[in-house]
């Protein structure tokens, strides 16, 4: 799947740009080489580097599912020079895509289990393909509980899919914001508090969480309070990355390279790192 020289990106065309929130855009790409278009595989949890030529490249998790063949999607939050450049692009622009890199959520292993998804802000992005995969294979999984949190209602990503998610069988979607606005009638609570409030049973359940470091830390505590074991909690780590192949050593944590051995880790693995996460 990898191009012969892993430093060289595939060329992709920007097909569509959707504003998810005021600072997050969903980019839908199509590879320009025809033979790859139907043949490009990647899994939930994996990531790729997107190049804004002339500015640089940065890693982003895939937010689409390869088998749906509806384009390769990434959620890009405007935060640095590369993301700012990507935000400037309009459909038709050429973007470099290098990947897929990293490991993925072992969704095959989770079959038959209840899945508890906890996402905060842009952290929801890599979890979206997980949700959609489960919904596509609904019968093979147990209950699905989703907590999607953000700072304000405007910052909730994938709002247009909330209906689909909420209406799926044995699926519960809980939205929460730190601070609502005049139209917001839902929860105003921090994500870890919602975890504690909902009290999902740890029995036969896998919790998958992604979000800002501070949210992860407290969510972890909340989950442990509910009786989740470290190996029942899965997250994807965010680290500065440059190569994606475990060479440049930026993402080195313990004997792991987040780009190669991760980004998906169980808390059992993470707790073995010497450095605090």
């Amino acid at each position: 799947m990898m191009s012969i020289n892993p430093f060289i990106p595939y060329q992709a065309t920007l097909k569509e740009v959707i504003n998810l929130t005021p600072d997050i855009k969903l980019l839908n790409l199509e590879l320009t080489v025809p033979e790859l278009q139907n043949n490009f595989d990647y899994k939930p949890g994996q990531f790729a580097f997107l190049s804004a030529y002339g500015v640089g490249e940065a890693p982003f998790g895939f937010v689409s599912l390869a088998y749906r063949k509806s384009g390769i999607e990434f959620a890009v939050r405007r935060i640095g020079t590369v993301t700012a450049a990507l935000h400037e692009l309009e459909p038709g622009a050429t973007i470099g895509l290098r990947g897929p890199f990293g490991n993925y959520f072992p969704l095959e292993d989770y079959k038959g289990k209840n899945i508890f998804i906890i996402g905060g802000g842009i952290g929801m992005a890599p979890l979206r393909p997980v949700i959609n995969f489960i919904l596509d294979h609904r019968a093979e999984y147990g209950n699905l509980l989703i907590i999607n949190g953000a700072r304000t209602p405007k910052d909730l990503v994938f709002a247009n899919e909330f209906d689909t998610w909420a209406k799926a069988p044995r699926t519960q979607l809980e939205l929460t914001v730190d601070k609502g606005d005049q139209n917001w009638k839902g929860r105003e609570a921090l994500v870890p508090a919602v975890v504690t409030e909902l009290k999902p049973s740890p029995v036969n359940t896998i919790a998958i969480t992604c979000g800002p470091p501070i949210m992860i830390r407290f969510t972890l505590a909340a989950l442990k309070g509910l009786g989740f074991a470290n190996n029942q909690i899965v997250t994807t780590l965010e680290q500065k990355m440059k190569c994606g192949m475990g060479k440049c050593a930026r993402c080195n944590v313990g004997d792991k390279y987040v780009c190669k051995d991760g980004p998906v880790f169980t808390f059992e693995q993470i707790s073995k790192f010497l450095e605090q996460y």
Partner: protein, 329 residues
């Protein structure tokens, strides 16, 4: 009987080789000895009596900065990958430096291989010079190397009064040596120097125990995060990738980076998982002594002593290893 090449013959052989190969050899100018590309007319500039170059020969395979590819923006961006055109001979490297290259090999040639590195690596023959007068800060023998260790070389030359003893260890080396004007001579091999030993053994097992010790913060107090240790190290290979735009041409460039540089792990939003000076500093030693070994089988140090020599504030890996050994009790 040993096959020997005299100094004159060696130089004329190199001169001859320079017609076909790029020769990279130690050259001293302005009091600084560096591996530089020398043409056939410049062979005399090669310094055969240097002790240790300021920068390691890793520069040849992994230069301070290199273009990975160029983007031509006409209609659609086209990518032109960089490549090297000539075979090369890296001449005059010390066994420790050869080991440094071998250590980088482990990381860069692991799947998926770094093609830019691999290409240069494949096209280069390593000719070493045994180290008969090591520097005071050298400690290669403590980390599994030796002044005449030919493990990671294609050819090793050992200087004697009669000329250089030639030993080829690889096919590539043997092939190359066939063209060398050598004589069979009865030679007593020189006595190899003995180096100060430090106790590096078992360090990997000790490192986890002292991870949270205030020791790292205290040593980091005097570290100025200058990157010099990483840049002179023959086996440090952290890098950065960025785009370089000049006069309408876009290049994707890889350049050296060091885990000691201030923004090394800071994410675009400002979050830094390694926020303190001590944590920053510690990473270097843990990567060398703890994280690297289980993946690649060896601690990431050749004992060349360059970082010891060049560190402006005397952060001395020998001392750190010794201190960690002492801290176990």
């Amino acid at each position: 009987m040993t096959k020997v090449i005299t100094k004159e013959d060696l130089l004329s052989w190199l001169r001859q080789l320079a017609e076909k190969y790029a020769i990279i050899a130690p050259v001293t100018s302005n009091g600084v000895t560096l591996y530089k590309s020398v043409g056939s007319s410049e062979i005399d500039k090669i310094n055969l009596n240097f002790s240790k170059t300021e920068l390691s020969p890793k520069n040849w395979f992994f230069p301070p900065s290199e273009t990975l590819f160029t983007i031509v923006k006409d209609e659609l961006p086209r990518i032109i990958p960089a490549s090297v055109d000539r075979e090369a001979i890296l001449f005059g490297l010390r066994p420790c430096d050869a080991k440094g290259i071998a250590l980088i090999d482990k990381a860069f040639l692991a799947e998926p291989a770094d093609v830019f590195y691999q290409e240069k690596r494949d096209k280069t023959t390593l000719i070493g010079l045994a180290c008969l007068s090591p520097c005071l800060e050298c400690f290669c023998t403590s980390v599994g190397g030796g002044p005449a260790d030919l493990t990671h070389l294609d050819i090793l030359l050992t200087e004697t009064a009669e000329g250089y003893i030639t030993q080829a260890t690889t096919e590539k080396g043997k092939q190359l040596l066939t063209g060398a004007p050598r004589q069979e001579k009865e030679i007593i091999p020189p006595v190899l120097p003995s180096l100060n030993l430090i106790l590096a053994e078992g360090i990997t097992e000790l490192m986890p125990r002292v991870f949270n010790d205030a020791y790292w913060d205290r040593v980091a107090d005097r570290c100025i995060h200058c990157n010099i240790c990483a840049y002179v190290c023959p086996c440090c290979y952290c890098f950065d990738i960025r785009d370089y735009v000049s006069k309408g041409k876009i290049e994707r460039v890889r350049s050296w980076e060091s885990c000691q540089s201030p923004g090394f792990t800071r994410l675009a939003g400002g979050y830094d998982p390694r926020p303190t000076k001590g944590a920053h500093f510690r990473q270097r030693w843990y990567h060398k002594l703890l994280y690297f070994p289980p993946i690649f089988g060896d601690i990431k140090c050749t004992g060349c002593g360059r970082c010891v020599r060049s560190c402006p504030v005397n952060i001395d890996i020998r001392e750190i290893i010794t201190d960690v050994q002492r801290m176990k009790v």
